[in-house]
Amino acid sequence: MMPKSKFRTKHFFGQALILLLAFIALTRCSTEKKQSKYLRSVGDIEADSKQDDPAFKICYGEAFLKQYFNYSQGLQYEGEMLKIKEQFEQAYVPVEVDESGWVRIRFVVNCRGESGRFRMICSNEYYESRDFDSRITDQLMSITKSLDGWKPLPDSENPEEYYQYLIFKIDNGDIIEILP
């Protein structure tokens, strides 16, 4: 029969080993997550209190955010894309500069049809990152934020929240296309 003290020592080392392994496994998992260059999904926008409207909240949590096309229902905006184009035609003042390319503003539409977490990327005509004159980008951002006809994605039970984007094709400071 094993002496009691020897049994306790062995038991102690056994527990310590299990704890050590668990610690290594946990550390490894968190290290792997930290090292990944990806968020949960391509195009995800993390809430940022420094730049986002604090009043904007999503209803169901990040993991439930869809993409605008997930239900194949087309753009969910009161008055359709035509209305969006009309709003930009009325509000955007062309800027006379030799700057062309694309501007994308991506954002979230929540279950109440409110929009928030606006983020912008810009490129030249060769799809290379570039900055545009702020008189262009400030207008695009401001008009996009003012659009108030967004609707949640139609779902049989709950209104779904989603990521939406607008792309502006810019030709010498003027908008010549709005997508998608």
Binding site: Y38, V42, G74, G79, E80, W102, Y127, I167
Partner: protein, 276 residues
């Protein structure tokens, strides 16, 4: 139904072509690509936007950095999220390593997602110069790349060239017209002022795939010919079809020559005034 079957057939064929059989690389003696292909299969079951999906492809590309297919499928989530910068960098690599296989996709996406008409024309024409077979359809199956090329020419101010390309394609006895071909041809004729030709093309569209759009545009053509009753009747039908969802539709973007309910209603109001 006819167009549903047609679209299904196109998508099915494309999908069959799209998923590589890893063993094919092995038979070709490309063991590196075979290994990369097997690793890329780890993404199975994950949505293309997810971290896991992207990481599996990164792993595959770490094994074989010339694996064009991996670049292409990696690019798709960026395309659909509107990130044109990352998408273009990835799809350029796919094209670099498989010109013939991926030019169609880059050309089509430049047209559909970014209205990059010159870029789409360049890709489609380059592909056509490289192969001696039919260059095929765009990704969603709605358009043959020749028709896409025609629409791009229209968009950059060359409608005559667009008409010529579409007429030639539609006169090819081996070609089965796609869901919107006659509609676009009709609109091109209408914009040129060739009202009789426009009506003929739009009637053909009506018989092949009756949509709110062809009714709307034919109504405009009839109005130009002072056939106001026919114009009004077609506008009413356009509204009915629109509300029944028989209209141009694409889940990601909006088609060229698409019309909206408000536009139909404005034309109905105009025709009511003209009748007073």
């Amino acid at each position: 139904m006819k167009y549903f079957c047609f679209t299904f057939m196109i998508i099915f064929c494309w999908k069959a072509k799209a998923q590589p059989n890893c063993k094919a690389y092995l038979y070709q003696g490309d063991t590196l690509k075979y290994e990369a292909c097997l690793v890329a299969e780890k993404r199975a079951g994950y949505y293309q936007f997810t971290r896991e999906y992207q990481e599996a492809l990164d792993e595959a590309l770490a094994i074989d950095s010339t694996f064009a297919y991996a670049y292409k499928v990696k690019s798709t989530a960026y395309l659909k999220s509107g990130d044109f910068i990352t998408w273009k960098a990835l799809i350029d690599k796919a094209v670099k390593y498989d010109h013939e296989g991926e030019l169609f996709y880059r050309g089509w996406c430049r047209y559909q997602f970014f209205r990059d008409f010159e870029g789409a024309i360049a890709d489609i024409e380059l592909l056509d110069s490289l192969v001696d077979y039919d260059i095929g359809f765009g990704q969603n199956g709605d358009y043959h790349l020749e028709i896409t090329r025609a629409l791009c020419y229209k968009a950059i101010g060359q409608p005559e060239k667009a008409i010529s390309i579409i007429e030639k394609k539609l006169s090819d006895s081996t070609y089965f017209a796609s869901p919107y071909d006659y509609l676009h041809l009709g609109v091109l004729y209408l914009e040129k002022g060739a009202h009789d030709k426009a009506i003929a093309a739009l009637k053909r569209q009506e018989s092949e795939n009756d949509l709110a759009e062809n009714r709307y545009y034919i109504a405009l053509a009839y109005r130009e010919k002072d056939q106001l009753d026919l114009s009004r009747a077609n506008l009413e039908m356009a509204k009915k079809l629109y509300l029944d969802r028989s209209r141009m539709f694409e889940p990601y973007t909006e088609h060229m020559d698409k019309i909206y309910l408000k536009e139909i209603e404005q034309e109905i109001a105009k025709s009511t005034k003209m009748a007073e």
